[in-house]
Symmetry: C2
């Protein structure tokens, strides 16, 4: 560091002693540069009455040494590596109280999806159905939706994450409803697909394949199984129906205080499921120009078994 | 805290001891809730191998006590109050090295504004002039503009913070150029207003009034004067011309590593100027439907005097 930097730090330390502060964590890049001369993009400076430490990461180690010689530098990479996922790991295994809340949240979502299917009439818009779904959640005690509710009609159902629009429902269209509630701080996540009208044979076949794939993946959920095995269970069924190329996302994800948590159920994932995990199982097929079909449930892993928390019917519904 | 929270914290502390970490600062709201039950919007949790502290602010003190009984809580308000402005206060008084850099940055901006006035021709767009200004800064060694360059033609000059558009210059329009460079990490900030064509008498009168107001405020800059007095010096001159209602912002601001720093030169401000301060002096008048006129210079406060760092001519220019 330059003499001017040293003088500025000395003056600041004098102020700390005068005000009786133990330390000051300087997070402003301008303040950090002013005090040390270090111009790196990442880093915080810990100023103590008789101490000084720059915390930055490996990308800036050489630069910190060059720009601020004799400034003590701690690299956060080591600490970061060791802290990453520490609390997330604990959160992935739900205890009895958490499972009780998640059960209630899943049942609430199941009731709401069943009631919202009754709203599907010619001319209703995606936005109207989404608004009604979120209203029904709140009426049943949810603090709000766990994510922006998906309501997709017809060709729009081919978008796995369609945002509701002013599009109005007409005969002969698929309807995907993907919704979740936050109840007592815990999330649910549920998808059902129905057909508005009399479905063509191809749609019935696709629905049957997705339902079979979803059931196979649910049956695969058990402590000790890897996440990749659960994902493969769904994919194998769809491949037998020559539909695996239309399954464009992973099979599921952990669920809890947040809607996406560990573990992730994706291709090749070696992480083993453990009792206390709660995961979604949500395979789907998406065909541009036609629509999409997805069935999603929330499943808890128990010692020696599993529990499907969501209860809405998975039968193919034609309205 | 509930028994479950205590158990989770104990497990996390065991992990900390195992990994040899001194402490973990939990910033995720979900993690914080999971570990303590506290649902407040603000707060971080410091977990140590044998310690636990929630840091939050006064708004959540009662809630933290209710939701997480016996959790040690530290309110940051006291610390915040004492740390606020500590480094900013030091930064407001520039030393010799900083003043040398600010002088260079101000001269660079002065050269650029003078060269950019030569670009003003019928049909040139605001965006073209802004692009050329920023290119000229870089060519002269600046690391970049200190803020998004303002180029405003005609009626658009009535917007003090106009962003450059595709609008093309035509005869009979005011042109406001407000630009600043970052040179060796220090900012300049400079505004000049010219007229494209032969100016009507009213515009000449207004320009004369703004120039007189700016000179009065610059002359008022001295160690010991309050920021409010400097602001009043500009306002008094404009009031004598019955133009004070068109001066819609404050007279200036501190300048240094950032383009807006302490002190602020606004109405009624009691802060006293001190030697080492560098401030902008930038009164203006803005008339909707007609345009605006602003003149801005950077001024350093010296013991027993002042130094205007920016050098571009303030004479009224008709092109």
């Amino acid at each position: 560091m330059e003499t001017t930097n040293r003088a500025r730090i000395a003056e600041l330390q004098k102020l700390l002693r005068k005000t009786g502060l133990d330390s000051l964590l300087v997070t402003s890049p301008s303040d950090r540069y002013y005090l040390t001369g270090f111009t790196g993009e990442a880093g915080v400076l810990l100023v103590e009455p008789r101490g000084l430490t720059l915390v930055t990461d490996g990308r800036f180690a050489v630069q910190a040494h060059q720009e601020a010689r004799r400034l003590p530098v701690v690299l956060q990479s080591d600490g970061l590596y060791r802290t990453c996922g520490l609390v997330e790991g604990l959160r992935a295994r739900k205890d009895g109280d958490e499972l009780a809340r998640m059960r209630k949240s899943a049942i609430l979502a199941s009731e709401v999806v069943e009631s919202s299917i009754k709203l599907l009439k010619s001319g209703v818009s995606e936005l109207e159905v989404a608004a009604e779904i979120e209203y029904q959640m709140r009426r049943r005690g949810a603090s709000g939706p766990a994510f922006e509710t998906i309501v997709a009609f017809g060709e729009r159902a081919a978008l796995p994450h369609a945002r509701p629009t002013a599009k109005r429902l007409k005969k002969g269209e698929l309807v995907v409803l993907d919704l979740g509630a936050i109840l007592e701080n815990y999330c649910s996540d549920l998808t059902r697909t129905v057909f508005f009208g009399k479905a063509p044979a191809k749609i019935r076949l696709w629905y049957g394949a997705v339902r079979e794939a979803q059931a196979a993946a649910v049956a695969c959920v058990a402590a000790g199984r890897t996440c990749g095995e659960v994902d493969a269970a769904a994919r194998t069924v769809l491949a037998a129906h020559r539909l695996d190329q239309y399954f464009v996302h992973s099979t599921g994800h952990g669920l809890g205080l947040q809607v996406h948590e560990d573990p992730r159920l994706a291709k090749g994932q070696k992480t083993q499921l453990a009792s206390g995990n709660v995961v979604t199982i949500e395979p789907g097929v998406y065909v541009a120009g036609v629509g999409g079909i997805r069935i999603e449930d929330d499943v808890a892993v128990h010692p020696g078994g599993r529990e499907v928390l969501t209860s809405a019917s998975r039968d193919f519904i034609e309205l």
